[in-house]
Symmetry: C2
Subunit: 332 residues, 2 copies
Amino acid sequence: MATIKDVAELAGVSIATVSRVVKGNGNVSPKTAAKVTSAIKQLNYHPNALARQLKHQCTNNIIIIIPDISNTFFHEILHGIEETAERNDMHILIADMHNKTSIEEYYLRALMQKEVDGIISFSANVAQQLLKQAANDFPLVIACQYLDNIDIPSITIDNVAAAKEICNHLIASGKKNIAHLTALPNFLLYQDRLDGYTASLRENGLDFRAGLIRYCSPNIKSGYEQTLSLLDSGIYFDSIFAAGDTMAIGAIRALKERGISIPDECAVAGFDDIEMSSLIDPPLTTIRQPKYQIGCDAMNMLISLIRGSHIAKRNIVAEHQLVIRQSSCSVN
Amino acid sequence: MATIKDVAELAGVSIATVSRVVKGNGNVSPKTAAKVTSAIKQLNYHPNALARQLKHQCTNNIIIIIPDISNTFFHEILHGIEETAERNDMHILIADMHNKTSIEEYYLRALMQKEVDGIISFSANVAQQLLKQAANDFPLVIACQYLDNIDIPSITIDNVAAAKEICNHLIASGKKNIAHLTALPNFLLYQDRLDGYTASLRENGLDFRAGLIRYCSPNIKSGYEQTLSLLDSGIYFDSIFAAGDTMAIGAIRALKERGISIPDECAVAGFDDIEMSSLIDPPLTTIRQPKYQIGCDAMNMLISLIRGSHIAKRNIVAEHQLVIRQSSCSVN
DNA sequence: TTGTATGCGTTATCAA
DNA sequence: TTGATAACGCATACAA
């Protein structure tokens, strides 16, 4: 690999001059510029990005940590992030955890080692100590996820309120036995949705029954399996609130397979409003998150942190919306 | 930000010693090691990755360029890549082009500037000159995509043969008027699938009719729209071969909406076997690519390139498989 | 307009 | 076991 020194030698100039030509804006006479350019071509020279970044103390790269890239929930958010990044000359790289926390930890460390300028994480499943430490000294935004009692810049919807709202809707439709599919309780967001569920039951004078709660992995397959297991358990339920659309879609599949009519015998509600939810049969009632906007806001927040500008709100709460479709209402 | 120098100063040792304790394996007396460790804690020191990488001339990071991350076709491939990378202590970062070639170009440049150790690209939609130049001097693998007359390490299935096979299947099922949904012809892979389609017609003594070819973007929406437009055109067809499952799923939606029975009035076949294809109604006949294996092979190839080891085959052709489901056969 | 020289934060070689 | 010092490849302040 040719370096700036080789180019300088071949062109018969100093490395400073080469540097100026490469940058473009420098004051260089056309004649020497030509010599240098020719040498660059001849040697097939490419400036070393690491050296340049070390000098500049910034990379213009930012990393997005995604729990699972195959969850379509993140795709629209990514678009918001990408477009905002592009407007600010930052480059987005996605780190797919496929649900391994070791990966989150690795990139948090990369951030602290200045390998990238900032991180937006959609996970928060790593030692809180590490997260706090990273957020304290480096540009880090937690999105659609958060932690209690730690002041880290974040953006999320109000999961408790949203879950309560969708359960209230099921109850208003005449359902009194709502099963709940949720995921790993170490994510606070699932805890919140569970809290919204219990709050709704309580406010409507219904009893909480532990037998109606099932823990899944947040994907179609697991939602399907847990619903079957619920059906086999013999516990009666007339509706399912899944804490994620993927789980809800799995539930619908299981119900259809068993010949249970939706929503009459069993209504289904999800959470997130992923693309597939409006396409399946029956279309899924769910909570819509303003995904694109969340992406934009998260990225703008991160850019402010990187630039050291003042941040108006360190913890943004985005607006959600109840989307009612046929999986919960036959007349719609 | 504290540097190694600050730590050395505070601990009262040289930077060499600090470097040794940070690395861990060095020969350092327990006493000084303790002093250094304490200084590191006190200053909250993190070694600078860029400096280290500049020194080592490698980053252990590799970038995967994906045309569109919301295309589920790539997710299983990514798993293969990720797991192979992990076994080799490499770290995967995904660059989502969302179909903008400028992004592909940017990261190809990053590769040439040694910002990353290697790239696997699922696109090849940038100036061929640039691609050739990058592949010539740097570790680069093109996957599920390729270019004519350029010797770049690659892995792909035989798209012509696969397309021919699936069209033969439609014809064998009694269909004689196959419409074809394809995408941007600047991707050679769509050209290949079109070639397979025409070859199949020819070999079965059927005429090629330009009116039956429709160009889409490779997604559900566009497949849906082009199918509607085809239906409105009045041209008769009894089956659709889409060059991608997403387009095929859009086609199914359009047909169902118009009350056309699948497969009797119109059969549908896709390409890729994405997850959704087995879940929709009716399940989609398609070509399965060995996605996970492609990911593993691509990554192994890249690692060989990075390590400078010999590569047995520079152009791997992976095995495909025809998957027949109800969208093309009512009795199945 | 051009060149010299220093520093960015490491690692590693060589002496001590 | 430790320290001084030379790279790694580039950018830039300053001098010429």
